[in-house]
């Protein structure tokens, strides 16, 4: 088996290869997921008719993959799921995005997707939390809510006819993010789950797992689950909340754990984050050493053991 401990330089492709070779030894008789490449014909022999899903096209009555990935069959629907691609929005997804520009009555938000998403002025809570029609004055004051470059947590509200995404932040848990750290991972590593605002009390941090692969880590706040800037209270002061050195270290440890998991291509769940952080504490690994070979090997062996237990 390859070893990461040696002095050579590894890139992300190598890391995934090493992790995969370790996990493969455990999977033994696990059912193989069918994998196809661009241009491959997908077998539909045993099926009575089929529906063309994402990542496929029909050529001369045959179903042909247009992307490389795993074949998924749900009743008659046949689709190919890519493992590395831009985020495709689904209704109700919790996202972390960055405001790119303000145009007319809307903000354009970069959500790491195929197009920029739109956040309408009518889809945000006004400062003070008043419920009323948006006036021309509100339109002029849009920058007091979100400015260009702001990081926001938001939810997918609906889709436009052309497939672009409409967002909303009409809940106190959504809104501007500050006083934390952003980590970007592949969006396929974050699965949809019941909760995306996750308080990890044992680590002293709150995490927002954006379905688009953006993860926000902040120091834990008792009570409120990973609350974003409270829009109902005073208007934004733009003052970063004060954070102690210990809290910073906790945030940094969690962020590095996320980066390490992302580099190895391991799915990110509250359990894997907690386990990785605990392993780093148990092994006495310094924060800066969490992305280096020796600790990555620890994560791989931990994950291998977990899969063996199943």
């Amino acid at each position: 088996m390859l070893s990461l401990a040696s002095g050579s330089v590894f890139d992300s492709a190598d890391l995934v290869a090493v992790a995969a070779s370790s996990f493969d030894q455990t999977s033994g008789g696990a059912p193989e997921t069918p994998v196809v490449c661009v241009g491959d014909t997908i077998a539909t022999d045993g099926q009575e008719g089929f529906l063309r899903g994402h990542g496929t096209q029909i050529v001369d009555g045959e179903l042909v993959a247009t992307v490389s990935g795993a074949v998924e069959r749900i009743n008659k629907l046949v689709s190919v799921r890519t493992l590395k691609s831009r985020y495709t929005a689904e209704l109700g997804d919790v996202l972390v995005g960055r405001v790119r520009e303000i145009s007319g009555k809307r903000w354009k938000v970069d959500i790491n997707g195929r197009q920029e998403a739109v956040l309408q002025l009518s889809a945000v809570n006004l400062p003070g939390g008043i419920q009323r029609r948006r006036t021309a004055e509100d339109e002029l004051n849009m920058r007091s809510v979100f400015q260009e470059g702001d990081l926001i947590s938001t939810e997918v509200q609906s889709f436009f006819a052309d497939g672009s995404v409409a967002l909303h932040t009409r809940s106190t848990k959504y809104g501007k993010l500050k006083g934390g750290q952003l980590v970007t991972v592949a969006c396929s590593l974050i699965r949809r789950q019941k909760q995306h605002f996750i308080p990890l009390e044992s680590l002293g941090v709150d995490v927002i797992l954006g379905c688009n692969g953006l993860v926000w880590v902040t120091p834990h706040v008792a009570g409120a689950p990973a609350a974003a800037a409270d829009q109902t209270s005073e208007p934004d002061t733009d003052v970063e909340p004060s954070v102690s050195a210990k809290q910073r270290a906790a945030v940094c440890r969690t962020a590095n754990a996320l980066r390490a998991l992302g580099a190895l291509g391991i799915s990110i769940t509250p359990a894997t984050i907690e386990d990785t952080c605990k392993a780093s504490i148990d092994a006495g690994v310094q924060l800066h050493a969490m992305l280096e070979g020796p600790f990555l090997e620890v994560i791989i062996s931990q994950e291998t053991q977990r899969r063996q237990r199943q």
Binding site: D11, S12, A13, D14, V16, A17, A19, A20, F23, S27, T33, V35, V36, C37, V38, G39, D40, G55, Q57, V59, V64, T66, V67, S68, G69, A70, T82, L83, K84, S85, R86, R100, E101, S103, K108, D110, G113, R114, Q115, E116, D162, G163, S164, S188, L189, R191, Q193, K194, L264, G265, I266, S267, T269, P270, A271, T272, R306, R307, R309, Q310
Partner: protein, 247 residues
């Protein structure tokens, strides 16, 4: 000069219909949506894809752009030969952009743009074939839908022998040469680039050989894509117990 010895070997010891060694590495560049490193003999190119992403305000004429950059360290020789290669690269990147526009379904490019950047690290014959292969692999690695799987291959007719995948020394000759980008499923040629005078029979012979070369390359490219997908699938496999523990 003798390009094929009586024993049927070329200057670098290959047979006339033998490709150089191909090495492919996918997804090694962080911060890109997809990337591919392709090494064909001593030719090394690196391709990266950014997008599909929201098109910048002020829409451009083309939603997909492919830029081939020849780095200063890639070629031996004086400044003029580098500049010549740079000009050829510009020309070829236009052709490649056109081919990609046909390959990527239109609905992907609605309000979006894709940028493909190819950097030549070392130039040694068959350069544009390597660039095209790297660019297409990077697109596939980025999960961009493609209508068909393609490969590009360079051939030449030296001393009335058709040779596949010319080395730098062979491609410097004033002999008929043809490079094609071949769509394997539809069995059609997307780009054809010819150099020097040739008869129609010579062209036919070269195209036939280039097609064979492309099919061989596609097999290797397909393998690389599959193994990279399998690796990613095996690392990110869901672990049921982890989810249960939380609930």
């Amino acid at each position: 000069m003798e390009f094929v010895s009586p024993e049927g070997l070329r200057l670098d010891g290959r047979r006339p219909k033998e490709l150089r060694k191909l090495r492919i590495k996918l997804g090694s560049l962080d911060g890109t949506d997809g990337s591919a490193f392709v090494q064909l003999g001593n030719t090394k190119v690196l391709a990266a894809v950014f997008g599909p992403r929201g098109a910048p305000t002020g829409a451009r004429s083309s939603a997909i752009s492919c830029v081939i950059a020849v780095s200063a360290i890639s070629v031996q020789g004086d400044r003029r030969s580098k500049e010549r290669l740079g000009r050829q690269a510009t020309e070829f990147s236009r052709a490649l952009t056109n081919a990609m526009e046909q390959l990527v379904p239109a609905d992907i490019l609605k309000n979006a743009c894709i940028d493909v950047h190819v950097q030549v690290l070392q130039a040694d014959g068959g350069l544009f074939a390597a660039c095209a292969n790297a660019a297409l692999l990077a697109l596939a690695n980025a999960g961009v839908p493609l209508r068909d799987i393609c490969a590009a291959c360079h051939t030449g007719l030296l001393e009335s022998t058709a040779l596949v995948d010319l080395s730098a020394q062979e491609s410097m000759q004033q002999a008929p040469q043809a490079a094609i980008l071949y769509e394997c499923r539809t069995q059609s040629i997307a780009i054809m680039q010819t150099d020097n005078k040739m008869s129609t029979t010579a062209l036919e012979e070269l195209l036939e050989l280039a097609t064979e070369g492309c099919i061989a390359l596609v097999t290797a490219m397909r393998q690389a894509l599959i193994s990279s997908t399998v690796q990613q699938l095996s690392t990110s496999a869901p672990h049921a117990s982890a989810a249960q523990r939380r609930d």
